[in-house]
Symmetry: D4
Subunit: 249 residues, 8 copies
């Protein structure tokens, strides 16, 4: 798929170093490992700059163990998101070197990347304490992907002074991740105060007509500030991955 | 229906001053006037403190004229909302004493009530210039119902300084009407700054996923501020009527 | 944020009584208390006329205890809404002076405000017995915020005589809170009978196409009566807070 | 399909009066007439007690003419609903004996059925003047199908006295058709006052969050009165057809 | 409210037999009984022809007992719908003369009305066995309200012969109640085969895009047959109540 | 219903071999078996080419046993879908010859059809491991209906190389079943690579704004590839049934 | 992309007949033609068995002309769907050899494929005359793609006899395309009568709660018949393309 | 609001150089210009790094002229989005130095920023020619904001080779803007091929169940690739603004 590797391979074929059939096989099968339950993409760190991360919500402990081992065997750090505490326990019974970050529901294998000192910082802000699990997922993932990260919690728009009190922190960030449920107004207000891109994460916090985060999601999509983009409801992980790519030069 | 009037009527029946059949008829038919096209509620000003107002959007000029005449014949000021300019022209050809307030789409018959000096003020704030027609409807109706009213436009949340520059005006109001489309965050932010009740009016301004005002409506219903209540999309009139009732002692 | 306080502070800076850095710090940090889990807004009673209230639905007992203590330490009454019975028990094990009002799911710390005799009364009406928890939340919060309050239950529109039998009570209220699920018609009918503002609270009561309160919510937003505004589904608390602000002169 | 006719046909086959092939053909093709554009069901009056009615909204004048002629050729009265004025003109240019009832958008061929004196009456009530086109469709169709019909307009729930003034009329009806837009509360209130079945017709009248009649539709489906059933938005015709079948002994 | 009773009462006032205050009180309070938890409408059988029925889904055993006793004390049969088995057990521990019809989730107090021989029959048809609980609710309620009732189950439209095999039963009914989930096509097909009114009951049976009965509900509202009206999802009770009123002469 | 059988029957009537009444009865009752709980369609294999399959999700073990026995008694293989493990256990306690395929939630009675060697193959592809239960239902049902089937898992579109590595398998299929949740893009991508019809099955896998599969469903319906058709969310069974009919010559 | 071609190319490289750079270029650029406005896929007929078809709804006449010429230049027949009459006229002014099939909104260049006599037939059925434009699109496209096609119109489920009269035609089809708006029940009923796959096409025909075809779409997705799959609202073209692929051996 | 400026101002007050009242006024009013119709934010370029842009969709020519002049008077380039051609003509009659970019609906005043050679490039990809207006808006705005930009059109996922042919271009971008309607799969596929952040822009292109872009929007929010964030439907402008901020070091 990758033109550079393809060109190299074609050269090798031309020079007779590689047989066409072998080249064909190489082309098609290289970048993943077939396990019993899936095709683990062990080259994503090379291709995309982000390691493959296991979406843990719908997986059994056994499936998570299998995937983590496949990643570890290729020298990649392994990270599983949305892992419930009981599943985490069962994985750790098999892989005791895993660390479980309970409030962020993350299961981690291997050391986090060292924070690169040449990069800017990522700031995670969240509207209320109920939004903390999602904010913490973003915070922890961003940290493990090598960013300097700060978390600023409980700065909802109905008490603006709490947000404005941290204006310097806001303005120092290279990227802001703004997490909010209910009316989802925080990203719009934050985006008007900074010159950085703002990644908005709606949460399912709220009741009645919050519709599990849809109201916040719609508010964020309709932001009158031009520097706001939105990820899925409660998806702190994608926000962190995206912030990492933005934060790199 | 009104116990006081019923009691008086029953007394009259008991004293032989009114026959039972007449009483029955009186009870059932008094408070409206049957016209060709409807039953005009000419006593609403007495019963509710607000005159009957004609919803002009779905009516012909002839229907509006008929309703206005019925109200005027009972000494009531007449007001029609959502009147398109061409319909207004046709009404004014018949009732030239009508005034048409074009930017608020209001057709008015009779003088507005004098602003009562013993009442607080109503403040209408709106997020963008595109919200002005709805804000002006609220503004003009509140004025004609006898309130002191101020209008503060173009103070959307992505440029907070524009709003904060008018903090004194905000805090002086007895009631605030907050009009916004797009992400509908203005009422939440305003409500955190004032001790007054805030009536939120979502507008159909926006594009894409604003869904004709639904996104703003949902945001407002989910406000994390406790002093916000919401009326229908683009319904500046109801906001003004409600503000009038709140503004009275 | 508050211009009056800002002006005073600036005077003090000019007179040399306050250093600029101190003034800056004061400006930014005064009105909240940073706890482990959040920023408690201990000045809201001053700023907004309503004490900060803890939204208890998504909080642990420990988080509620922490927030209550921060409020109490600043001399504020503390109130937590949507507290499940088991969480309330755990809070009361730590703070036995708390009172738990089970049918309204309220956890209260400190005495309620005395009913101000110079204010009008708040009337809570609800359509069916299934709406009672929400109506009781509104009722109890309004009482604790210092209002005279009445509760009129089981007066749904399919048996109008039950509502009309209490017409005098309806007409005596300064504000009406109308709570209903299913078709949500009660606020429209009530609003036609009174000259007071009506705050409509849709409830999630109903089945099938009630969609957890959405049908009632839509009906209330579309009320043909002009004196109706709506809060979120099941949000008795906001209705009470708003009624309190309206009820004050 | 009809067992009685099938039995007769089978008898005829057994007695040799009809050949099997002819019987088969009869069975399959009898009850409709194939035209260029459709299969007109000319026997529906026999089978269902209601004549076939042409849904005129999406048809050309030529298609309506063709269908009307097919019905007329079989001795049936022909009725087309939702016919715009300009299409009606073009049909009447070809079939001048057609009558066009403009406010109900009905195009009629042949005399209406005489009102049967042995039947009860159908009452059409509607909330506002904007609901009149739908109410008139119900009214006019019910009349042409042989019912005694009354129309009571402008009796919305925010002015209950207008409705209660006609309580006798309401209680005299064998079936009530209740037509309303906006919050759609009228059928619930009416149904609590009568012992008759109530057919609720939501209309697309309203603005903002009325969503073209969806809010009224949902309110009606969630009626707390047990004697309400609902037809499609703006579907006055079906309400009238159903009322006709109910009104028959 | 009732003009006839009002006239009699006014006569009594005129003749001095009743004092005006007493009359007023009578007017307002007669038709319900105030209990601890609600206002039981004990005169509904007189006013509407259907006894008050207790919606059991959201009530405690104690509330059901209280309401049943209030009804029984006024000589009315008492019926509670949507009663879960465990709640029913607790009610029967207090009121052992209650009968619980488990598959229809009905709790009944007092004998059902005898089937009136002068009335037509009600036919309940349902598409699949999964729809049976709703169909049985309709069936059992209709029977207890004095109708002859038949139940025809498992006649979904993807096996038309199963329905057509019962054509005579279909055509003999005065009213048909058609119960279906999934695509909700049964009422349209049935309505094309009979001359009776068809009450359609969507059920929440189905998965994926059935959306808890919404798909079936929409299909029924859009029926191309004119003799279909719809009640709420899973609402077998209302269908039976309505069928009872239709079935009476 | 079937014209050929009807013609034969009519011949028999004409020749006196069958009495009309008997013919009528035959016509109406033949193709199903009335059990206590339903009408089992035992001739569907003849009529439709697919055996009747029991939808097990909403059925008790007893109902499944009854239906399986009715099918088995007519020589048909019996298959129940969506059977939870505990229900399966209870059925197997009565019918121990049943096989339970746990990961596909299928309960099977009788041997699967032998794979017909004259037919093409069915390929089931799925995007992630979380989609496997639905993919396995499709896979197992297709196998038991006599198709050659392959299953290709974990080939989501964000790692295209995993899909392209199996291009030969994709292009060899007579029909492709593409199973995906989240953004539902797999069928579009697959459909652009093959000349076969693609049956898209959205799954309820995802979180936040996946809305239980609605997002995937909508994406699939809007596919820019012309060779995609869609079945209900999570409905692997229908996809397999449809693929079977397509796969036959 | 295609392994066979890739293998050939690699062989050529190995043998020195093709330089690696040339091979790379060939791989990436072969199967489309870059025009001013797009990348026309001129090899789709080879790759997918269906020619590239131009979606004409959102294109100017000039864009359609450009795309048609690019296709024609590669010897492919060109077909544009959803072409409004005025746009068609403008295209035909430039390419007079184009044929415009007005009722199907198709613009065709080149002769249709001859119907292959070795294939089965495609049957298009539609519920009402208002569904004809969509049905005709399916009909005409299927014909031009080389299928034997029949069209059976106006066979809605509320008059089942009209459908059953054509049972032989239904049962003779290799594939059925069932087109319906309103309640969308036709595909379910048809699917129960045939052993062929049924492609359901919802149409936007209907009013009120048909929601532009959503009700029909949902009904079709929830079909209780297993042999139904669904395409987008009004998408007769995809149904025909899919039927073509199914119809081939 | 800005702490740095606030500190400077406080210093000036302390030193007596600025009077407190003047300071207060400065704080509140500086950063916008009050015009007849709004408050133009003329300092946004300083504060946010992006100039204020006029949302032209809902504005008259006069309002656009007024806003452009206010911006130009402060030395800012002025840009209006979503300007219809006729409005643009009227603006250019007054401000002939404006340039109108018709296919992007942009009205521009002043020269675009020179492309900064030290920055990466922005790549705009779009799925079909119908998505071009939105893609061009993003393209043109990004160019005028000083980015190197490329536009790659007509690379929808159903013909993957067209996209893969431009893999080098994709991989060279610092940010990718992916524009697509219909099933909205393009951003997911692109995001799997690059290591850059991907901003997804759903368009309202499509028909039937595309719901004006909602289907594409949902697909994009549910992307299984972690490096995708989404802006509002058709909002090419925000995507470009965001890409500009990301593209800066």
């Amino acid at each position: 798929m990758d033109p550079e590797r393809l060109r190299g391979l074609l050269e090798a074929v031309r020079e007779g170093r590689v047989a066409p059939e072998a080249a064909l096989e190489t082309l098609a099968q290289a970048p993943f490992v077939q396990t019993a339950n899936g095709r683990i993409d062990v080259h994503r760190a090379l291709r995309q700059g982000l390691p493959e991360v296991i979406y843990g919500a719908a997986k059994t402990a056994a499936q998570i163990v299998e995937a983590m081992r496949a990643l570890a065997a290729h020298g990649q750090p392994a990270l599983a998101t949305r892992v419930p505490a009981d599943v985490a326990e069962r994985v750790r019974a098999v892989l005791p070197e895993c660390e479980y970050v309970a409030d962020a529901r993350l299961l981690c294998f291997g050391s986090p990347a060292a924070a690169r000192t040449d990069l800017g910082s990522v700031l995670v802000v969240c509207a209320g304490t109920a939004d903390l699990p999602v904010a913490r997922e973003a915070h922890e993932v961003a940290r493990r992907f090598g960013n300097k990260v700060e978390l600023l919690a409980d700065v909802g728009v109905a008490g603006l002074h709490r947000l404005l009190a941290s204006l310097e922190l806001l303005r120092a960030a290279r990227v802001v991740i703004a997490v909010a449920g209910m009316e989802g107004a925080l990203p719009s207000v934050v985006a008007g105060l900074v010159a950085a891109p703002v990644i908005a994460v709606p949460t399912s916090v709220g009741y009645g007509a919050s519709f599990g985060g849809v109201s916040a999601l719609l508010a964020m999509l309709n932001s009158c500030a031009p520097n706001v983009a939105v990820v899925n409801i409660d998806n702190g992980f994608s926000a962190a991955a995206l912030a990492t790519l933005i934060n790199r030069t």
